[in-house]
């Protein structure tokens, strides 16, 4: 006798929820998944009626499902939001150009306006060119830092009030683990926050409506709803440090499926001792973006790329910031340390 859905007990169960282990039919699963995101949005007060919200879309499963659900919930519950898609072109051949096609299709399917910003036009460097200089080990740092600024610039061009990204529960749990492994206490405190603070010009507040949705459930949802998305890993990602945290998390999930939410729970309840030095928010002296140092990370990385010193920005080089600002040349010793070694 086939198992019945544990919610409606009428239809046959089509899938087993990775999050709770219950067997559900398709419709009940859709409802549960959508309702959970709706509850997250309402409980955390992520949006206000009348706001313009930019959905960070990469063409991957997270952002596709996010765009679909935001549109659905906006209509179902009358959030009163104006939705738009923002996409970033990092310039990775064979990966990003394909996924951008998906975003363009999404734009037509969901009837949402779309804006694409590219690294080439913003910084003068595409990821392919960056990897040629930096090598395969630290390139994710460049991509991540540049993308953050690129999204903000795109959001300002479109005049949106908020950005929402497709970070899911697995991403947040991975980030918690990574920050513990890297000893980054400042980020550890902030990374489980569902939305960022909204101070400063040049910075658009952003939030993660999918924060408590499991990656596997997002895939299940997209699969059953037959949503169109691009499903390849970034070609440069295999050597990233994050990979270790990801493998560990996947193994944890196989032992105990609730581990992902458990880690997020731990992260939310962490508290830092008084007297621990924390970075203070200021602005970059060169571009005006928010930064805790004299120069923001993007400016430091760009400086390194333009001068042929790709390691500037990887590791601790605070003392060199003044030199860069005042355009002094670096000593030979300093230059030697900053040239790339590993490929």
């Amino acid at each position: 006798m086939p198992a019945l859905c544990s919610n409606c007990s009428e239809k046959r169960a089509m899938l087993k929820r990775p999050k709770t282990g219950h067997s559900l039919c398709k419709l009940c699963f859709f409802f549960a998944f959508e309702e959970e995101i709706h509850q997250t949005i309402v409980a955390a007060k992520l949006f206000k009626p009348g706001e313009t919200v930019g959905i960070a879309a990469s063409g991957g499963k997270d952002s596709t499902v996010l765009a679909y659900i935001m549109k659905l919930l906006n209509e179902r519950y009358n959030y009163g939001l104006k939705l738009m898609l923002i996409s970033v072109d990092e310039g990775i051949t064979g990966y990003r150009d394909d996924s951008l096609e998906t975003v363009k299709r999404n734009q037509q399917q969901y009837e949402l306006p779309l804006k694409i910003v590219s690294y080439e036009e913003l910084y003068g460097w595409s990821m392919d060119a960056i990897v040629k200089q930096v090598g395969l080990k630290n390139n994710c740092t460049f991509c991540g830092v540049f993308r953050r600024q690129a999204l903000d610039r795109g959001a300002i061009m479109l005049r949106v009030d908020k950005i929402c990204t497709g970070h899911n529960a697995d991403d947040v749990a991975e980030t918690v683990l990574m920050n513990v492994l890297r000893g980054d206490i400042a980020r550890l405190r902030r990374c489980t926050a569902i939305s960022t603070a909204s101070e400063g010009d040049g910075v658009v507040p952003r939030c993660k409506p999918l924060k408590y949705a499991y990656e596997k459930e997002i895939v299940l949802y997209a699969y059953f709803k037959k949503l169109d998305y691009f499903s390849t890993e970034c070609i440069y990602s295999p050597n990233a440090y994050r990979g270790y945290a990801r493998t560990f998390l996947k193994d944890l999930e196989s032992i105990r499926p609730s581990s992902i939410i458990d880690i997020i729970h731990s992260g939310e309840n962490l508290s830092v001792r008084e007297g621990v030095k924390m970075p203070v928010q200021g602005t970059c002296s060169r571009c005006g973006y928010i930064s805790s140092q004299a120069l923001c990370k993007a400016c430091v990385l760009l400086e390194g790329l333009n001068r042929g010193l790709p390691k500037l920005g990887i590791g601790k080089h605070h003392r060199l910031h003044e030199k860069i600002l005042s355009q002094q040349p670096l000593t030979e010793n300093e230059e030697k340390k900053l040239k790339s070694g590993d490929f």
């Binding site: 999050k19 509850q39 492994l181 032992i255 609730s258 458990d262 731990s266 939310e268 001792r273």
Partner: protein, 422 residues
């Protein structure tokens, strides 16, 4: 007076330190305790006996009083172990110096001679007790839950021993490596709020007995070198996850993950350890000090105050949305259905709590215990097939707390001070 739990290096350095001729004198009276878990691991009585004798020889050479206790003793602990105790205030510095001088002048009191020690050797352990203990540990379905439960019970027994023999501090031998692994394990199990106590230098959750970890700065390698160079004797005892696969439990997986990562990135362990040093117990727990809001099992402050938007809230919502109409765990529901359909009463699904059938008795107990526990202990209990195997002291304390809260509900409107301490 301090009680050593993991012997090895701790004992040797202490022996050097306590002798009157040492330059740096350690001014405390140490004792040694060893908890024999052979019953849980499945060792035969002979094996346990052999280990106990080896340890006896080892401990006697130190000259400190020692206690070898089987874990089966945990079944007879008093409820005071899981009751939160007020912490005694520390003496002011001036008084401390005076007390130390007094101690040095008048020598050691309370010297326990070897004959007076009560050591309960494995041959004295009751078979039925070993069975009951195995049943208790066995009722946890996953190895992760078993190890967690075992740690909790062991800690209870250690604290009780320290209390009953008059020791004020409990020294644990966790090394830097072990603590880094423990930190990751705690995060994976949902114990973020209790990290500072699990991994920090001092742990004062039991109030009168403070656990300290003096070896937290030494890595496993350093300890190994020291033991080798100074011929520190030791005895190897198998634990619950010896010779299991990497993915057998969260604890085992984390240990192998950290060890492997350490080979590629040698700063891993020290970085994790330093991260742990910067953490403290979650602030909100100290403010929510209403009637012993401590976990029933681990005695840490509860972290289940459901914030409006939190992971805990999300979990509860998911449970609700995936499983409506019936309250109670799914497995018990299916047995209830089977039972009722056999009896020919049709579906017994009521519209809420009024389910009048066999499963109702079980349903009453489980939610009660979970309310009294922190997030991660709730997960451990969830993995247990039946909570009735838990030792009497835990169940009766749960009953007591439940009665107190019912009482308080009745008289709530008449109480002037809401944050009454229990």
């Amino acid at each position: 007076m301090m009680l050593f739990a993991h012997f090895r290096m701790l004992g040797t350095t202490s022996k050097q330190g306590v002798s009157q001729n040492a330059h740096k004198k350690l001014r405390f009276l140490p004792g040694i305790v060893y908890i024999d878990e052979g019953g849980v691991v499945g060792l035969s009585k002979e094996m346990r006996q052999k280990t106990a004798f080896e340890l006896q020889e080892l401990f006697t050479t130190t000259g400190f009083p020692f206690y070898i206790l089987p874990l089966e003793q945990v079944l007879e602990l008093p409820t005071s172990v899981v009751m939160p105790v007020q912490q005694q205030s520390e003496p002011v510095t001036g008084a401390y110096k005076a007390a130390v001088d007094h101690f040095l002048l008048h020598g050691r009191k309370n010297d326990v001679s070897p004959e007076e020690q009560e050591n309960i050797l494995p041959c004295d352990v009751n078979e039925s007790q070993t069975c009951a203990l195995q049943q208790l540990i066995g009722s946890a379905k996953t190895l992760t839950a078993r190890e967690d439960l075992l740690n909790t019970l062991r800690h209870h027994l250690l604290v009780h021993t320290a209390r009953s023999k008059g020791y004020s501090k409990l020294m644990l031998g966790d090394s830097c490596t072990r603590l880094a692994v423990k930190l990751l394990i705690s995060i994976s199990l949902g114990r973020g709020a209790q990290l500072a106590q699990d991994v920090g230098f001092s742990d004062s959750r039991y109030g009168d007995v403070i656990s300290v970890r003096p070896m937290r700065d030494y890595s496993a390698k350093e300890i190994a070198f020291y033991s080798h160079m100074f011929n520190v004797p030791y005895v190897s005892v198998p634990s619950l996850h010896t010779k299991t696969q990497d993915k057998a439990s969260i604890q085992r997986l984390t240990e192998s993950f950290v060890t492997k990562l350490q080979t590629d990135f040698p700063s891993t362990v020290s970085t994790i350890y330093r991260t742990g040093e910067k953490l403290q117990t979650a602030g909100r727990s100290s403010s929510a000090a209403a009637d012993g809001s401590r976990c029933l099992l681990c005695l840490c402050s509860l972290d289940t105050v459901t914030d409006v938007a939190s992971a805990l809230q999300a979990t509860l919502i998911s449970e609700q949305l995936s499983h409506t109409k019936i309250q109670g765990p799914e497995s018990e529901l299916s047995t209830a259905e089977e039972y009722c359909s056999i009896k020919g009463e049709g579906t017994c699904r009521g519209t809420g709590g009024g389910v009048v059938c066999c499963s109702s008795a079980k349903e009453v107990d489980t939610p009660d215990l979970r309310e009294l526990m922190c997030y991660s202990c709730q997960l451990t209990i969830k993995d247990m097939s039946s909570i009735h195997h838990l030792p009497h002291y835990i169940l009766s304390e749960a009953q007591r707390r439940h009665s107190r809260s019912l009482m308080r509900e009745e008289i709530r409107e008449f109480l002037l001070d809401a944050d009454e301490d229990d």
